[in-house]
Symmetry: C2
Subunit: 233 residues, 2 copies
């Protein structure tokens, strides 16, 4: 049985119960089979930290009941998935307004409105467009086939998983890490990270996750060393 | 006499020789007198690092010949100021095109074009606008009245001047600094700097200036400590 703050890697295939349509999976060959393969996606077991609420509620709750290596199929009602459908989120707007946003709508098209929200075009006729702003999975009962591939046991592996999350897998070995007997963590950053986009926020989030989920009493220290070699190129 | 890499604070009043027009000054009452006072500007002696080429060439060259406390008036030809005028930078464009960029031009207006460059409107007539893309001071001989207010002597003061440049004066005392006997510099950052905009670039530039202008053989180290207090608010 798993518990709060466990680092769990899962493989899953998520389907809509009524139609059997596969909408998400961590497994490359399943994605190809279901015609949802995306070459930008990294197909690999997904890290779930229990209690983080980073996956839908029904899936997270089910994981607490599972054991390492176990595989099962779970049915998740809309209330523990993407919520019920809300009919007030179905709106009619003028075709002209959408066209001014550079959108030429057709039925089932997914559009991003100027306010950033996503909507599905239900119909286009007589200069009017009916848009559905509900999440496409709202109101649906989902079926997940899920397998607990791995559960991390030691602190150092958990920290590495978080480095991968925030800096990418290529830095897991490049970020020099020391974990002292008082469980304080010290990272010495390699020079190539100094000007990576958003590096300060990534460092902040990495430290936050380490303290929230691995070593709550720890101090996480980052050290950056600049000398003339850094600036000569 | 001053030399390369000296940290010099100067006050100045810059005028166009022909017209006597004051276009820039570090002194608040002079700015008010000349009607160029801007309440966003901090009027205070300006830091010039000799050899950095951060001020016009003629002014920098003159500073090398001066002594702390000295005041003098120097005349700077266009070649050592904003360059000669280039008549190919006077262009005619259609009024309609400027209006499409949201600009309603009138003579002497300074406009920012969609490519980012600044231009002065010379005339508007018959649907055509003549723009001058030369720097407004191109081709002018300038007269600077300049005073060397202060020259920094010790390394620690120079580093503080650079902290002020890159992080603002409020951090000069908040950034814990240690300078060891090997002239290595260690900064411990206060928590409130962790998520300041562009902090990573500011740290990079601060280290770069310290190494270029103060302690070339030094290692500049930044230390950031994250613990649960950082994330609890």
């Amino acid at each position: 049985m798993l518990k709060d703050k466990d680092f769990v890697y899962i493989d899953y295939i998520g389907k809509v119960k009524d139609t059997g349509e596969v909408f998400d999976t961590t497994i490359e060959e399943e994605a190809k089979k279901a015609n949802i393969y995306n070459k930008e996606t990294k197909y690999a077991p997904k890290l779930v930290i229990l209690g983080e609420h980073n996956v839908i509620q029904g899936l997270e709750e089910a994981l607490y009941q599972m054991n390492p290596g176990e595989e099962k199929e779970i049915e998740i009602p809309p209330e523990k998935a993407y919520g019920p459908r809300d009919n007030t989120k179905v709106k009619t707007i003028s075709l002209g307004e959408l066209r001014r946003q550079g959108i030429n709508p057709y039925p089932n098209m997914v559009v991003r409105l100027s306010n950033g929200s996503l909507a599905v075009v239900k119909s286009v006729s007589g200069g009017r467009v009916i848009l559905d702003l509900n999440h496409p999975l709202a109101g649906k009962t989902l079926v997940y086939k899920v397998k607990v591939v791995k559960v991390l046991e030691n602190e150092s592996d958990k920290i590495k998983a978080l480095i991968e999350r925030w800096l990418g897998s290529s830095y897991v070995d490049k970020l020099n890490m020391e974990l002292d007997e008082k469980k304080n963590v010290k990272f010495t950053l390699p020079k190539e990270l100094y000007l990576v986009e958003d590096i300060q926020i990534r460092k902040y989030m990495l430290a936050k996750d380490i303290i929230n989920y691995v070593l709550p009493e720890s101090t996480v220290t980052y050290i950056e060393n600049y000398n003339k070699e850094v600036f000569s190129q």
